[in-house]
């Protein structure tokens, strides 16, 4: 598991570097053909860079702290068969904790499913993991403002819960039909 993760990260870094090289070359070519645009491009890029750099160390420190203090095992232990509001709430919180990329969440979800966790909670957990992460909300706050962040967060939470329950209901119906159609 860990080895596969490392391998994946190395691959990701390579793609990032290739992308960086590509963008740099395009920038150099464009800016030498159109020198009058240099001012705008450099000011804009620098402004965004400063904004990123002024929050990224803080965000990374948060990710590091949670990775160490809230290990995966705790997530699995707390996310069992708890039904109702409590189960939904826990699934949401456990997903929102900054504990790594989405591809780590799938094996966890798979284990939970086998242990008998509700489908709705699994879906909510995965969705919270992918789009309600705490560091992510902080960066959204920085770049898109409090109102945008908050409204999107509230809508996402509401609709994700609805989606979880709907998928659970659909899969339940599916099973019933399969059972009934067997001779």
């Amino acid at each position: 598991m860990k080895k596969a993760l490392r391998e994946g990260q190395r691959k990701d870094t390579m793609t990032d570097l290739v992308f960086l090289g590509f963008v740099s070359i395009v920038a150099i070519v464009l800016l030498s053909i159109f020198p009058d645009r240099r001012g705008v491009v450099i000011t804009t890029s620098w402004g965004f860079f400063v904004e990123m750099i002024s929050i990224l160390p803080a965000v990374m420190v948060l990710i590091g702290i949670f990775a160490v203090f809230v290990p995966k095992e705790i997530v699995v232990r707390y996310l069992g068969k708890d039904a109702g509001i409590k189960g939904i709430f826990l699934a949401m919180i456990m997903g929102a904790l900054p504990t790594g990329p989405l591809y780590i969440a799938f094996p966890i979800a798979s284990v939970l499913l086998k242990k008998g966790a509700r489908v709705s909670n699994i879906v909510i957990f995965l969705s919270a993991w992918s789009c309600i992460k705490i560091p992510q909300e902080l960066v959204e706050l920085e770049f898109l403002g409090f109102k945008f962040m908050l409204v999107r967060l509230i809508l996402t939470i509401g609709l994700v819960i609805l989606m979880g329950l709907t998928i659970e209901w659909m899969i339940g119906m599916w099973k019933k039909i399969e059972v009934n159609s067997k001779p």
Binding site: F19, F49, M52, G64, I65, V68, E140, R152, M163
Partner: protein, 160 residues
């Protein structure tokens, strides 16, 4: 420096001090992870920052707003939703990009849909999701997330 920057840094510092008091060795490990993640994300940050500079410097606002602006209509939203679902940009980095698009004439709806499909749906990670959770759950989750993203975007466009 704006308010959000201050809040984020104070929050992180608070957590760090609390962690340090609780367990020094673990906190040191956390800082190593933080440093490693920071270095790992840096090339992408620089790349996206240059990309944003080029986008705002070379592509006229009228072109951007024609593709993803108010007048682009539902077709524009659909294009953005599909792009968000396919592209594999780290979510942390998508926010400055989204903000630059908003600055240059994209609609709130388009930007909200883009961020939401980008984070919720992973076409790249879909095979893994199917393998771990089965076809039904994986396909339903990604498919319904696509619809949800558009609904979120449309509501946000209305009220913001």
């Amino acid at each position: 420096m704006n308010m959000a920057t201050v809040i984020i840094n104070v929050f992180a510092l608070g957590c760090l001090i609390f962690a340090f008091i609780k367990d020094r060795t673990k906190t040191r490990m956390a800082l190593v992870i933080a440093l490693r993640s920071f270095v790992r994300i840096l090339p992408m940050v620089v790349a996206i920052v240059i990309f944003i500079g080029l986008l705002l410097g070379f592509v006229p606002k009228s072109v951007i707003s024609e593709i993803v602006g108010e007048q682009a209509g539902f077709k524009g939203i659909l294009v953005v939703a599909i792009l968000g679902a396919i592209l594999h940009i780290p979510s942390l980095i998508s926010f400055p990009l989204a903000s630059s698009l908003l600055e240059s004439g994209a609609s709130v709806t388009a930007v909200a849909v883009f961020i939401t499909t980008l984070t919720m749906i992973g076409v790249v990670t879909l095979p893994l999701e199917i393998r771990e959770l089965g076809k039904k759950i994986a396909l339903l989750r990604n498919g319904m997330s696509f619809v949800i993203a558009i609904v979120i975007g449309l509501i946000m466009g209305r009220i913001l």
